[in-house]
Each structure stands twice: as structure tokens, then as C-alpha cells.
């Protein structure tokens, strides 16, 4: 997986998403465009540029939230519809964007834009697609949901060429305001975790079959709350669903055991923890905001009173003459390979633009390999994502550099020691 393809987009890479089936990658950029890349299809690694609708004041609207959704054969089979891939070609893979113009749009892999909703004057900060393809998103303190059936009906209208296919006219289901602005969404089994300053609310996922779109939320069970007075910036669920971890603005990890709501704190991080990740086997929890890629061990008695294990420590940089050596760079982004058993199971992005892949030997074959790629020489890694099949990884930087490692049929294996 160590072959790298590099791009220079020259605009802040705000978000990255992989399409679930075909492995297309969307990079959202600081100039209000999306760049689509599909290494399996493009021999020349060309990217397709898609300009999203212009926001307020004639400014491009920036994508603040990005996800992918697939209405393809698997989904249709599961819902008892005609699963022939050729019968409804428009019901395929899409990216979903949430922007600072308050718009939520579908973007097809061919670049067709289908507006879904628009909350004027608001920013869409987070997006999460539920297993049943309902789309949850947040703006400010508000959580909203558009149901799969609404989106499918919208796609049908858009492809039939009807006038109202181009309007952002879906009616979302709105949840009551949370205590603070929502900073992260995370699926937790059949619930959705919503993080904000002061805690996490766990909402039962709406069942499209039983809850009509416009019904008030009071008809569904209320949220369970996990309270913690802090700026909860990032969330990650352990692969077995046992623990929910939050990275805090205060440089701490906070972890809840879902079974009984007991919680743990792990401090000592020097910067905001914007990103948290579990190793694919669920054994270790890592947070950004420190130079070391280090994991807290959750096996046995758990991490309490233990020292974290360091998987990678960035090399010290030489000091310029007469000066103190520069501080080692902090981790800015982390990602865990969703596919098990994977060779490269963890990726860490650094504020100096370097990207590190770690092989923990979870496949039983190799152990302790590292792969380091310089994505940018001057700017931090802003976002990271593994492909759903675990065969490639994409990263983007604050100065608009991007890389895809692996994919496109080239997946070198780590060398066994």
C-alpha cells in the first residue's frame, strides 16, 4: 500500500471522503470546490473539479462537512427494492457536502449537484450517514435528519428533469437545541452520539418506517446524556462498541464505557485533541495533540495507572547554530483502518506535513513496520481518511497538498521482519 500519488491543489484541504464501492476520493478545498479522484479509473491521476453553489455575498461556500452515501445494489436489496444495478443507475454512490452557506448537497461521482436542504445564514458543521442511509447533520446547536426515502425521491426528481429537482426543498426533521454548538457526530450502535461543550447526547436512530419526516422529535425516545464540562472536539467508538472516546480542547481524552456509563480521563496532551482513533483490534486508544503516536491499553485492567505505549516518536530536528532545537511536531490528525485484519492499521498526520503509517502486526505476519511520507514541507496535515476496504489512505494539508497512498491496484505489503 506504500505507493503514493501526490497532488498540489493549492487550497486548504478541509475534508476528505471515500466513496464506499468504487473507491473514488473527494477532497473539499478552501476555494469552495470539490476535487474528485478515482485512481482505479484514471490512468493519469487527473482530478475532476466541481464548483459548489455560490454562498452569501458572492463568496464560494466552503465544505465544512463531507460524507459518502450509496443507494446501490446492497442497499436496495436490503430494502426489498429492485437490486439490479442497471435498473436505476442514478441510485448509486454520492458524496454529501455540508457548507458554510447552510446547504446540504448530493454530488454524484460524475459531478452532478443535487441540493437537498438549505439553512440560510447557518453553517453545516457535521454530517453522518446512518446504516439505513438516513442523513444526520448539524448546524450550531441543532441536529437535523433527512430520511433515505426523501433523498431517493429527490434524486428521482432531479434526474427526471423537473424544475423542482434543482431546489433545496426537503424538509428535515429537527431535534431540540443542544446545550452547545455541536462539534462531532458518531454512530454508536443504533444510536447517534452528538458532542458539544458540556457533554454528549445519545439519540436513538430514527427508524424511517416508523417515524414520519415531519413528526416532532418528542414522539421518539429522549436522548441519554453523558455529561462532562469540557470542549469535546472529536469522537471515536471502539471497534467492539464498548467504549466511546472524546478528544477535548483542554488536552485530555475522556472515555465512557457504554455498558454502565463509567468514565475515565487521560491527560497530558499539549494541544487540543482534534482527532482520536482506536487501533483496529480495539486494544489501544490514541489522541492527537502530542508528538508521539501513543496508545492507552484497554485490555486487562484498562489504562488506569498505566503508561501509554509509544508506537512512533518523531525524530528530533537539528538545532540551528546557537539556538535551542525546534519542538517536535504535534499530531494533528489520526485515522484507524476500518478493515481487519489490515497491514497498515493506523495513520497519523503531523503539523509539519508528514504522514506516518504504522503496521502493528495485527495480521499475525509482520510487526512494527513504519512508513513515512512527506505530504507538505510547511503546513499541517488537516485531514486523513482510510478507504472503506482498507486498501488506501488519503490525506490533505493546510497548504493544499494531497496524497493517496495505495489504491489503483497497487498495494505493496509491509515487509515481514
Amino acid at each position: 500500500m506504500t505507493e503514493s500519488n501526490h497532488w498540489a491543489f493549492n487550497h486548504f484541504v478541509t475534508k476528505i471522503a471515500f466513496s464506499p464501492r468504487s473507491g473514488a476520493v473527494a477532497f473539499a478545498l478552501g476555494n469552495g470546490t470539490l476535487r474528485l479522484v478515482n485512481l482505479a479509473e484514471s490512468r493519469f491521476h487527473k482530478s475532476q473539479e466541481i464548483t459548489l453553489p455560490v454562498g452569501s455575498g458572492g463568496d464560494p461556500s466552503l465544505v465544512q462537512a463531507l460524507a459518502a452515501i450509496d443507494f446501490g445494489p446492497d442497499f436496495r436489496q436490503g430494502t426489498g427494492q429492485d437490486s439490479d444495478v442497471n435498473s436505476r443507475p442514478e441510485l448509486g454512490e454520492y458524496f454529501i457536502t455540508g457548507g458554510d452557506d447552510g446547504g446540504v448537497n448530493l454530488v454524484s461521482l460524475a459531478g452532478k449537484i443535487i441540493p437537498l436542504v438549505r439553512h440560510s445564514g447557518r453553517w453545516i458543521d457535521n454530517l453522518q450517514v446512518a446504516p439505513n442511509r438516513d442523513v444526520y447533520y448539524s448546524y450550531g446547536k441543532i441536529l437535523a435528519c433527512i430520511q433515505a426515502a426523501q433523498i431517493i425521491e429527490k434524486i428521482t426528481r432531479a434526474f427526471s428533469g423537473r424544475e423542482n429537482g434543482r431546489a433545496a426543498d426537503l424538509t428535515p426533521r429537527l431535534y431540540p437545541p443542544h446545550e452547545g454548538s455541536i462539534s462531532a457526530l458518531q454512530l454508536v450502535g443504533n444510536r447517534l452520539a452528538v458532542a458539544y461543550f458540556g457533554g454528549i447526547s445519545l439519540w436513538p436512530l430514527g427508524d424511517a418506517a416508523t417515524i414520519p419526516a415531519q413528526s416532532p422529535v418528542s414522539q421518539s425516545p429522549a436522548a441519554t446524556k453523558l455529561a462532562w464540562k469540557g470542549a469535546l472536539l472529536s469522537l471515536a467508538l471502539s471497534p467492539d462498541g464498548e467504549y466511546l472516546a472524546a478528544g477535548l480542547g483542554e488536552g485530555e481524552l475522556h472515555v465512557w464505557r457504554m455498558r454502565d456509563g463509567t468514565d475515565l480521563r487521560m491527560s497530558g496532551y499539549g494541544a487540543k485533541i482534534k482527532s482520536v482513533a482506536w487501533t483496529p483490534d480495539g486494544r489501544y486508544l490514541l489522541g492527537s495533540g502530542v508528538p508521539e503516536m501513543m496508545g492507552w491499553d484497554f485490555t486487562g485492567a484498562g489504562p488506569e495507572g498505566s503508561e501509554p505505549r509509544a508506537f512512533y516518536i518523531p525524530p528530533e530536528k537539528p538545532a540551528l547554530r546557537g539556538q535551542t532545537p525546534p519542538l517536535p511536531p504535534n499530531l494533528t490528525a489520526l485515522a484507524s483502518n476500518p478493515h481487519r485484519p489490515a497491514d497498515w492499521c493506523l495513520a497519523g498526520g503531523y503539523e509539519d506535513g508528514s504522514l506516518v503509517l504504522i503496521d502493528l502486526g495485527l495480521n499475525g505476519k509482520s510487526h512494527g513496520n513504519l512508513h513515512r511520507v512527506e505530504v507538505s514541507r510547511r503546513a499541517a496535515i488537516a485531514c486523513l481518511a482510510f478507504a472503506p476496504d482498507g486498501n488506501s489512505l488519503a490525506a490533505g494539508t493546510e497548504d493544499g497538498k494531497a496524497v493517496i497512498i495505495g489504491g489503483g491496484g497497487t498495494m505493496p505489503r509491509p515487509h515481514a521482519r
Binding site: H11, G30, N31, G57, P60, L62, S181, F197, K229, E250
Partner: protein, 323 residues
């Protein structure tokens, strides 16, 4: 230490409801200055702005470090400005409007306390719009009006056409009793040259001190109407930066709740650049500013605006930091 050349200047605009903030904003943003600003406001009101980026914020106050009131920040601003900084289109500045009754502290502290904003933005100036006709009453009624004046680098004394010259002088006297180091600009209907309030680099302290260099000599000024006062300290002898930083850290930890603002320009032994210092309550920042020019008098200059300031004690500690 950060590079001021690449950071985005932030202007905080405060003032009571009805003082004329919206009129001023409309004027600033429609004036043909050829600059691009991002404007963060409380709610979309009567702003008639078409070619500037306007964002509405839901005021959301976080307490950093577990509940210390002096470490409150505006979470919504962190989120919005982090988003704005991802844009390819560059801004000449960001203007943050605060609600009429809000104390400016959480807004100002946000730019000191958040690591990303600290790196990518710099607080350029706090501008307070004052209604010349109503300020005397507002000062006697609430602490917010006093705080808004104490925090200001620039005060726009607005609606000057509604009061007599004598009343205007009296109002200026009241403002000066609280904050001797702000610049007071008299305006009518918010009409002002944007250059006077945007991109000021107010913390290149000579601007503040240029208001009246005499302040630095006559030290303490006291007005019994108000418990908030200003004092200044100066010395021609260079300062030991480590001793100074240690003193500030201790002083602000102990007395920061009472100190609204502290600002200073410091001369280090054998250093070509000025050391620039500023604080809001317990949050402070020190960094190198411009070079000393040949005509400059290399001098340490320090001002405090706050409650219960013990001038002799401050002076003693300051003198102990001299190299």
C-alpha cells in the same frame, strides 16, 4: 513567537445597544476602502452589506481550566474563525461585534487562549462605541459600560451632535478617569475614516502612548466616581525579559481578575526589536514587534487599566525586573 505579517488582524467592536454600532458597521463596510473584511455579528439586522462576508454567531461562552471566570472564551468564535481561516480568499481583517450588554473579556480572551487563533490571528484593537448623550447614565447604572470603556483601545464618542460642548468635555473626563490610554475620536452617525480604527496595530504601543505622552510621567490619576483606574510605569533602563515574564505570570494569576488590560513595550539589552506585551485579565502574550528606530527613545513603557491597582507595589515589582 508569532509572525505578525501573516496573521489576520481582529477588531473587536463593543458598545451599548443604541450607541451606533450597526450604523458604524454599515459605514465601515460600504466605504470604498478596497479592503475585504469578514464580519461576525450577533444577528442579521439592518446591515446593508453585499460584498463582505457576514457570519451570525450564537454567543457561546466556555470556561477554560475548569471554571475560572477570567478564562472564559467564546466557543462560537473559535469555530467560526477556524472556518474562515480555511478559505483561500484572504481577509484584510476580521471584525467581531459583541452584544450591547456583554463584557468584552470573553471575546478578547478567545484570541489569547485558543492555540489556533493565537497562531493565526492577532488582536488589533478593541473599539468601543459610546453614546455621548447616554454614557453618563450608563456608567452609573452598570459595570458593563465601565468594562467596555476600560477594555477599549479606541473610543468612538458618537452622537456628539446631541450634546453641548461642555457636556462633551465632561463625558470625555469621565472616560479618561477610567481609561487614560485610549484614543477618543468624536463622531456623528458613525462617520469615520476606516483607517483610524481598522488595521491600527494598536499594540505597537507608541500609538496608545501618543495619545498623551505626559501620562507616563504623572503616574496615577484618580477619580472618585469610579473604582476603575489606569496607571503607567516607565523606565529608560532595559528589562530582563525572564524576570518580567515571571512577574507578569504571577501578577496576573493573583490580580488578573481586577486587571482589565495591561499593555507594554519593552526594551531588552542589546535587542534591535521591541518586545511587545499585552494582557486581558489573566491571559497574556509577549512577542517581538518592530525594530527600535534611531529616533526612538529606548524605554520600557507599561500601562494597567483595572480595579484596586496598587501603584507603589506595581512600580516596585517593575523596577525589580530591570536588567
Amino acid at each position: 513567537m508569532k509572525n505578525t505579517a501573516t496573521s489576520v488582524p481582529v477588531t473587536i467592536l463593543t458598545g451599548y445597544l443604541g450607541a451606533g454600532k450597526t450604523t458604524l458597521l454599515n459605514h465601515l463596510l460600504t466605504a470604498q476602502h478596497g479592503q475585504k473584511y469578514a464580519l461576525i455579528i450577533n444577528e442579521f439586522g439592518e446591515l446593508g452589506i453585499d460584498d463582505q462576508l457576514v457570519v451570525a454567531a450564537d454567543e457561546e461562552i466556555f470556561e477554560m481550566n475548569n471554571g475560572c471566570v477570567c478564562c472564559t472564551v467564546r466557543g462560537d468564535l473559535i469555530r467560526i474563525i477556524t472556518g474562515l481561516l480555511q478559505r483561500s480568499q484572504k481577509f484584510d481583517g476580521i471584525i467581531v461585534e459583541t452584544t450591547g450588554l456583554a463584557a468584552p473579556a470573553p471575546v478578547a480572551q478567545t484570541f489569547f487562549a485558543d492555540e489556533d487563533l493565537q497562531q493565526k490571528t492577532r488582536l488589533d484593537a478593541i473599539i468601543t462605541v459610546v453614546d455621548a448623550k447616554n454614557i453618563s447614565r450608563q456608567l452609573s447604572e452598570g459595570r458593563e459600560a465601565v468594562a467596555q470603556i476600560a477594555f477599549a483601545d479606541v473610543i468612538l464618542l458618537n452622537k456628539t451632535d446631541l450634546v453641548t460642548a461642555a457636556e462633551l468635555d465632561a463625558v470625555e473626563g469621565k472616560i479618561r478617569a477610567i481609561n487614560r490610554f485610549c484614543e477618543i475620536i468624536r463622531t456623528q452617525e458613525g462617520v469615520i475614516d476606516p483607517k483610524l480604527i481598522l488595521g491600527r496595530q494598536a499594540f505597537e504601543l507608541e500609538k496608545i502612548l501618543a495619545v498623551d505622552p505626559g501620562f507616563l510621567r504623572n503616574g496615577h490619576h484618580h477619580d472618585h466616581d469610579s473604582e476603575v483606574t489606569s496607571i503607567s510605569l516607565a523606565s529608560d533602563q532595559p528589562i530582563d525579559p525572564e524576570a518580567f515574564e515571571e512577574w507578569m505570570a504571577l501578577l496576573l494569576r493573583e490580580k488578573g481578575a481586577d486587571i482589565f488590560r495591561a499593555k507594554g513595550v519593552l526594551a531588552l539589552p542589546g535587542e534591535a526589536k521591541r518586545l511587545v506585551f499585552q494582557a486581558v485579565h489573566m491571559q497574556f502574550r509577549i512577542g517581538f514587534g518592530q525594530n527600535w528606530r534611531p529616533r526612538d527613545k529606548r524605554q520600557n513603557q507599561l500601562v494597567f487599566i483595572g480595579r484596586n491597582l496598587d501603584e507603589p507595589a506595581l512600580r516596585r515589582s517593575f523596577m525589580a525586573c530591570l536588567a
